[in-house]
Amino acid sequence: MVNLEDLKKEARAVLEEGKVKYIIGYEKSANGMMPIPGFIKSPEEVEKLVWTPACIFNLAKFLVDEKRRKSREKKPDARPVGLVVKGCDSRALNVMLQEKFINRDDVFIIGVSCEETGVIDEKKLAKKLKGKKAEKIEFDEKDNFTVTTPEGKVKVAASEVLAERCLECKANSPVIYDVLLGEKGKRSVDNPYKSLEKIESLPQEERWKFWKEQLSKCIRCYACRSVCPMCYCDECVADTINFAVTADTTAEEKAQKIKWLEKSPLKSENFVYHLVRAIHLAGRCIDCGECERVCPLDIPIRFLNKKLEKDAKELFNYEAGFDPEQPSLVSSFKDEDPEDFIR
């Protein structure tokens, strides 16, 4: 089991030595069991850090903001940012490194292993507790979590409340790190694409109907895009106005920007948004599951990305986020690549 005190010790040491600007980790929130992203700037603040099965967020996303902030400063602090990452989150860092979005010395990686378990799915836990409020949740021996409710402590089997992606996880321990807390090693998973089975078994018309129903719920709040660490483009296809505008951008350039989709949440526009995003993430998505977690309408967006992940593996033997040196999936080819689908 990962000891929280060890994590705090590492964080404190790194801050005391002045090695990092600040550390992004999971902070105790004043309201309930879920932590919040914490920005620890001094050794004293390290006490706020937590490590529980509710540490769901992918903190790699905040490197995107950090980069933006740095580019606006006149004399930026050149030190790296400390970042607490789980196995899946660390894969996001590898993709960022692969794409040269960040340099290795921009980030000091404090890796934390999920060991035999993982993180929870809030809804699954709520169902399991049948209305009792979860005030706190902790890792317990091997395959259990201990949940504190107003009526006392409850032991819950991890397999019943783990997030779907943890059940298909390929990297329960960080694959890139400066410091590693917890046991290394990959947990064996018999079927990493099990969650796709149900939907893949449906005939094409059923699948089309399913997605039409689901995507018509979308309100285009763009939370899925906002939370994804791989969606870091300054100007996104979904944006209808130019963001990268300077004093020298001509009126023609602004006027000629193509509007790929309307702002209206019509079925057609929602399809364009989600499918384009899924394709832009092909070979890049590392299945942190955040997109699905944040969706207020519970749209199973993860399936789209998972399916492309499966295709990437089966067609091209490509897995995102394990090797920062590998070329990107869609901008490279090998002679052995399958061609049977090219007409």
Binding site: M34, K217, I219, A247, P296
Partner: protein, 346 residues
């Protein structure tokens, strides 16, 4: 008008309202949302709050303003497109959501009344459902001048008394709804009224969260425009639109032209929800953006709700539904932020 209605008779009441378009909360997977009810037998009022408030029926996410086309002889033609005629009734409106509509009424009324909003608003009758138990652990309606059984904005209020509902009507529209099925309703007895009072006293106690010192907040905010607090609180904000899209009082929108064909020109001018939290909301054509950073946008949301709106309309622009707290992807909590505001020194 005070009556009681047996819970078993409730679907009957809905059946009698066949001349209305009936909306009620419907569950799909784990999510509750207001949909048109086609089968009154399926109406179920045992729900926590919906994800999107009934604002989406009165102020839909997409509203067509007009259609334009160039026909050969007459040149450019512009045609107004109004919402469909026909009365509607919305069941299961929580008091916070109904109160929120009275706030958006202030914005869409006044000078230059918004024709589309008012057509839908005037056609709709709102039947509320009082909250015995807070629908969300983050409810705080009491702090913002609301209550779990407030009647503001409602035509009828239903309160759960176990095997029956206590029914109160406050307007002609409400009384009409009841008189359509008047045989189903019985007069309320003293016993009923006593039970109602008891329930309401209990309901108030169950609201666990509150904004401390809320009266201090508008004057405090006035002096906090340049405070570093906004930078700290917005560090984790992801600039999505969840807080504002789910908020029952938020009303910002965008107007765009959607072209169906360019030659001959044919298209629609459409209004869609927008949010001050998107970075392009205030961006000028020149690229100048008065709210370029997250801190200024979080500040805008908080100050608009708890200072500007108060100065202009004498009401907090928040009814304590708690949706923004429950669904923020990074746990930004408006009650926590306001707490820090009320304790701010500097």
């Amino acid at each position: 008008m005070e009556k009681v209605l047996d819970k078993k008779s409730f679907p009957q009441w809905v059946k009698q309202l066949s001349s209305y378009t009936v909306y009620a909360p419907v569950q799909e997977d784990e999510v509750w949302n207001y949909e048109v009810i086609t089968n009154p037998e399926n109406i179920d009022l045992d729900f926590p709050n919906t994800v999107l408030s009934p604002k989406k029926i009165i102020f839909p996410q997409r509203e067509v303003y007009l259609e334009f086309s160039t026909s050969n002889e007459d040149g450019l033609e512009v045609k107004e497109v109004l919402p469909e005629e026909g009365p509607s009734v919305i069941f299961g409106v929580r008091p916070c959501d109904a109160r929120a509509l009275t706030l958006t009424d202030k914005v869409f009324g006044g000078d230059f009344e918004d024709v589309y909003y008012w057509k839908r608003r005037n056609q709709a009758a709102l039947v509320g459902l009082a909250c015995l138990i807070p629908p969300s652990p983050n409810c705080f309606c009491l702090s913002v001048d609301g209550s779990p059984f407030s009647k503001e904005g409602l035509d009828v209020l239903m309160s759960d008394l176990g095997s029956k509902y206590f029914i109160e009507a406050f307007s002609k529209k409400g009384e009409e709804l009841i008189s359509i099925a008047k045989t189903l309703f019985k007069p309320a007895t003293e016993k009923d009224k006593k039970e109602l009072e008891r329930n309401r006293a209990e309901a108030k106690k169950r609201i666990s969260r509150q904004i401390q010192n809320i009266k201090k907040i508008p004057p405090m905010l006035k002096g906090m425009f340049d405070s570093p607090l906004w930078d700290e609180e917005s560090m984790s904000c992801l600039r999505c639109g969840i807080c504002t899209y789910l908020c029952p009082t938020c009303h910002c929108f965008d107007i765009n032209d959607e072209i169906l064909s360019s030659s001959p020109l044919q298209g629609k001018r459409v209004r869609t929800w927008d949010t001050c939290q998107f970075p392009d909301f205030t961006m000028h054509s020149s690229g100048h953006n008065p709210r370029q950073d997250k801190a200024s946008r979080l500040r805008q949301r908080i100050m608009h709700k708890f200072q500007y709106f108060v100065e202009r309309y004498k009401n907090y622009q928040c009814t304590g539904c708690g949706r923004c707290i429950s669904r923020c992807p990074v746990g930004i909590d408006i009650i926590e932020v306001l707490d820090k505001v009320s304790r701010y020194e500097g």
